[in-house]
């Protein structure tokens, strides 16, 4: 799509430089830990060394004698105000601080407040806690067995560790498809527990003003408005009502889903500030971040595909055990306990499908949030893309050919999937063919055949994913009852410049730039003249925040709708100024002119000035609008990725030689930013595919609780990504856009896993669970007798 605006205006399609960058490249960003308030004190947290234990005593006397220590807050302190428990976003409950027992290693046990960071840490060392260890439940399958200790003894009627059973689809029809199938493939797939590990950890400053009764919280949050409501719901009974709470989300150093939940540290800081009447800063360190904050994934999946002999897929059946840890603290829309996992039919035209998920409690940190993905979509995509390769292998078919045979066709959109989603638009064949051409698929297959003869291990992996983002339509989507609309408010000032505020919150996505481009596109005001603000609940309109690739799909759409309201008023003012009827005016970006007399025109700047100086009698002055956008449907970005790997027979190391990503996110607002999002997403796809995993030993001790052993990709492991695109606009989004932030994280892992399995398929290897570490590969090479 050619841009409709000039480069000076910088509307959609222009790769304008980011408005955020001048401050960041000078070290002048303002992240939470950069803020120092007068009289501010510091919170540090005592954490449990045990995964499950009875709390028998907390002795604080020694800690209170440490120089600089002001207070120690325990569960008993909070219980006096009934603040020792809080709701999760999934309507479960979670301890803020324990009064009876701890449920996972690194659980918050007490908070120490001191005059400096160092004194607070000294205080933490001096708090003495007595524990009586209890039996630990680590394995979610064992947790479901009769006789397993029941973990949530706080829930009176709870007799087992099952959180929920959820199912979707036509079970009988799917069973019939399997009974009638020529070919069936079945595989257990584990998608391990991982952590977003944004480079900035979580933290806040809670500042309670005793005189005004007002609480200001500077917080690393992706959803400031929702957090304000949650604080009011949790602490309304102690006088913190919503109009007296201001949540400010300043610059955020990466979020990826990890900054959606409310963590106990935030609540302790708020309580401490209320008690002490001073600002309280809490900044977690990296080990706390990895060990106690919400995790992602941890899905134990059994998947099956039924197919005809010619490769036509006819049925999909999936059973999953979801390990949620000690509480269901996922951040899914309320009606979707397994998120949008039902996108698991993927890009393929299945007639029958059935999926079921059981959520389970274990002695691990709570969570089940996303890791740069829209509510369990990565789990779904990994499953279907791995299973497609398994089917291809069983049939002896090329995996590209099998995909092209089963794709939903372009003429089937809008397409109703077997599990009930209406895919808005797509052209899956075009994306895969483009990726195959770009990477030289046929030549690579030849190269692979030659290398195999020489004993070299090379693999080619494909992933043709369908995303589901932009939650979501209010009919089905809410969080704690709040519908998942989003919002924009645009004020055009007398001089023709504008301020635009949104209910979302960028964590690096570049909203200050892309939202300004949306306003530029719709009103013709140069993006350089549009100041975007987010993240302050006192000024921004109410919105549900930024996660699940929803910002462009919801708040971006709201921006376009608010701008269109302004344009309609501008038309009336232009008609008044030009003394013609509104119908005689034509709009082009930035001005209205008279039909047939283009020399008679008024620019948006002229009109803005008139809105305050010469508006028509009977019309309200000013030029501003608010829009709350309730999307009619979700959007369905898609793409095809092809990865080439070489495997070292000596070490088992997998080297990604090439990776071509063809993405389709609908109409593009800023191509530079879209490319950057895809680069980052691919790297966060590479990470769980090859490196990242958090596991637990039998006693519930975390393995992978620091950057010593939780491996993020560095520039050395990360390949030079090759990106390309197709453009299939969303038919229902006002700008035809779909969202892109997470597509690559969702799409990349199976491309890499499929490539590794492909490299080893001639040895009889069918599946390897991610992360595919050198050790795993080396053991397979050893077993197959090909290790060097």
């Amino acid at each position: 799509m050619e841009p409709r605006t000039t480069a000076d205006v910088g509307g959609m399609g222009h790769a304008i430089k980011r408005k955020e960058d001048p401050r960041f490249i000078r070290g002048k960003g303002t992240y939470v830990d950069d803020i120092q308030l007068p009289g501010m004190v510091y919170l540090d947290i005592v954490r449990s060394p045990f995964a499950h234990a009875k709390l028998t005593a907390i002795r604080t006397e020694a800690a209170l004698k440490v120089p600089g220590v002001l207070a120690v807050i325990t569960g008993e302190t909070l219980a006096q105000f009934n603040l020792h428990w809080m709701p999760t976003l999934m309507s479960d409950t979670q301890m803020v601080l324990p009064t009876e027992k701890v449920m996972y290693q690194a659980q918050e046990v007490a908070g120490v407040i001191a005059t400096s960071r160092y004194a607070a840490a000294d205080g933490v060392e001096a708090v003495e806690v007595d524990y009586e260890p209890l039996p630990v439940v680590v394995d979610p399958f064992k947790a479901l067995e009769p006789g397993s200790p029941v973990l949530r003894t706080d829930k009176k009627d709870k007799k087992d560790n099952r959180i929920f059973h959820w199912e979707v689809g036509d079970k009988a029809g799917t069973d019939r498809a399997f009974a009638e199938a020529d070919v069936r493939v079945k595989q257990d797939i584990y998608i391990p527990r991982i952590h977003v590990a944004s480079i900035e950890t979580c933290g806040c400053i809670a500042d309670f003003d005793r005189v005004k009764g007002r609480l200001t919280v500077y917080m690393t949050t992706q959803a400031p408005h929702a957090i304000r409501t949650v604080i009011a719901l949790v602490a309304g009974h102690v006088g913190l009502s919503e109009e007296k709470i201001r949540v400010i989300s300043p610059d955020i150093g990466g979020g990826f889903g990890g900054k959606v939940p409310v963590y106990p540290g935030y609540v302790i800081a708020v309580a401490a500030s209320v008690v002490l009447g001073r600002p309280v800063k809490w900044i977690e360190d990296r080990m706390e971040n990895l060990q106690a904050d919400s995790f992602a994934r941890d899905y134990h999946i059994t998947a099956e595909i039924a197919a005809k002999r010619d490769g036509t897929m006819t049925g999909l059946r999936i059973k999953t055990i979801a390990d949620h840890g000690y509480a269901d603290a996922a951040a899914n829309p309320s009606k979707f306990p397994a998120g949008l996992f039902s996108i698991c039919t993927g890009s393929y035209d299945f007639q029958h499908a059935f999926a079921e998920v059981d959520g389970v409690y274990t002695n691990k940190p709570p969570g089940g949030i996303a890791y740069r993905c829209s509510f369990r979509v990565t789990e779904a995509v990994h499953t279907i893309e791995r299973m497609t390769d398994l089917l291809a292998q069983q049939l002896g078919m090329d995996p590209a050919e099998l995909r092209l045979k089963n794709f939903v066709r372009k003429d089937q959109f809008p397409y109703r999937s077997a599990l009930g989603w209406e895919y808005d638009s797509g052209d899956y064949h075009a994306a895969l063919k483009k990726a195959m051409d770009r990477i030289g698929y046929a030549e690579l297959r030849k190269e692979q055949a030659e290398k195999r003869k020489r004993g070299e291990l090379m693999g080619i992996g494909i992933s043709s994913f369908t995303e589901i983002v932009g939650a979501g339509p209010s009919k089905h989507f809410d969080i704690l009852g709040i519908k998942m609309f989003d919002s924009a408010e645009i004020r055009v000032h007398p001089t023709g410049k504008a301020t635009a505020r949104f209910g979302t919150k960028s964590q690096g996505q570049g909203h200050e730039t892309t939202y300004a481009q949306i306003v530029a596109e719709e009103l013709g005001i140069p993006a350089a003249h549009v100041e975007v603000e987010e993240g302050d609940t006192d000024t921004a309109p109410y919105g549900l925040g930024t996660y699940a690739s929803r910002s462009t799909a919801t708040a971006g759409a709201a921006g376009a709708m608010a701008a269109r309201k302004i344009r309609e008023k501008a038309r009336k003012i232009a008609a008044h100024l030009l003394e013609v009827s509104e119908d005689d005016l034509v709009w082009e970006p930035g001005k209205f002119s008279v039909k047939g007399a283009p020399q008679k025109s008024k620019t948006i700047q002229d009109i803005a000035f008139a809105a305050y100086t010469n508006h028509p009698q009977g019309m309200e002055a000013g030029l501003e609008a608010v829009a709350y956008y309730d999307p009619p449907n979700l959007t369905f970005p898609f793409g095809s990725y092809i990865c080439v790997v070489d495997i070292d027979r000596g070490t088992g190391e997998v080297k990604v030689r090439r990776f071509v990503a063809v993405d389709d996110c609908g109409n593009i607002i800023n191509p530079m930013i879209v490319d950057g999002q895809i680069h980052g997403g691919l790297t966060m796809g590479l990470a769980p595919a090859l490196l990242e995993e958090i596991s637990y030993d039998a006693s519930g001790n975390i393995q992978g609780g620091s950057f010593m052993d939780y491996l993020l990709p560095t520039a050395m492991e990360t390949p030079s990504w090759e990106t390309d695109k197709t453009v299939t606009p969303s038919p229902h989004h006002p700008l035809g856009a779909k969202g892109v932030g997470e597509s690559a994280t969702v799409g990349a892992p199976p491309a890499i896993a499929n490539a590794v399995v492909d490299a080893l398929s001639h040895l009889g290897v069918r599946h390897i669970d991610i992360p595919i570490t050198p050790e795993k590969v080396w053991r397979i090479l050893k077993e197959k007798g090909v290790a060097e």
Partner: protein, 156 residues
């Protein structure tokens, strides 16, 4: 806890401070001198968000005690821009979209800046090697490599 009087030069300006023995350089910079451009991202010297130059060499200031900087020259991200003119490495990050959330950026730029002082024409591999102690979660490194290349070309 013992305290020490130290004198160090930060971005060309001399500072004297009373510090506890255990105070980390990063906390001296951020909380005492209020130069908050240097960030903290881990506890184990892996992420590199806190990278500054100590006598011209990149160090992770979360693993350097403030007293170790006594009598030495420190350069932080705030020292890159001179007389209102951006350093080529800063320009490179902006022009090549080498940053997103901005959190790793100061450390990444300091590492890139140090690389270019000892190698004016680094290859892609040399750049990747140089920044391999700096983690970025947003960009996938592709554009960071380009940003360093941009700065190298600009300095020729």
């Amino acid at each position: 806890m013992a305290t020490h009087t130290i004198t160090l030069t930060v971005n060309g300006a001399a500072h004297t401070a009373q510090v506890e023995s255990r105070l980390l350089l990063v906390h001296l910079l951020r909380e005492v001198l209020r130069l908050t451009g240097t960030h903290i991202g881990c506890d184990t010297t892996h992420c590199g968000a806190c990278t500054v130059l100590l006598d011209g060499e990149p160090v992770k200031s979360c693993t350097v005690l403030a007293v170790q900087a006594d009598g030495r020259q420190v350069m932080t991200v705030e020292g890159l821009e001179k007389d209102g003119k951006l350093d080529p490495i800063q320009e490179g990050f902006m022009q090549e979209h080498g940053l997103q959330c901005g959190y790793c950026t100061p450390g990444m730029m300091m590492t890139g800046y140090a690389l270019l002082t000892r190698n004016t024409k680094p290859s892609e591999r040399e750049i990747r090697q140089a920044i391999s102690g700096n983690l970025c979660r947003c960009t996938g490194y592709v554009n960071i490599v380009k940003a360093v290349q941009y700065a190298a070309a600009k300095q020729q």
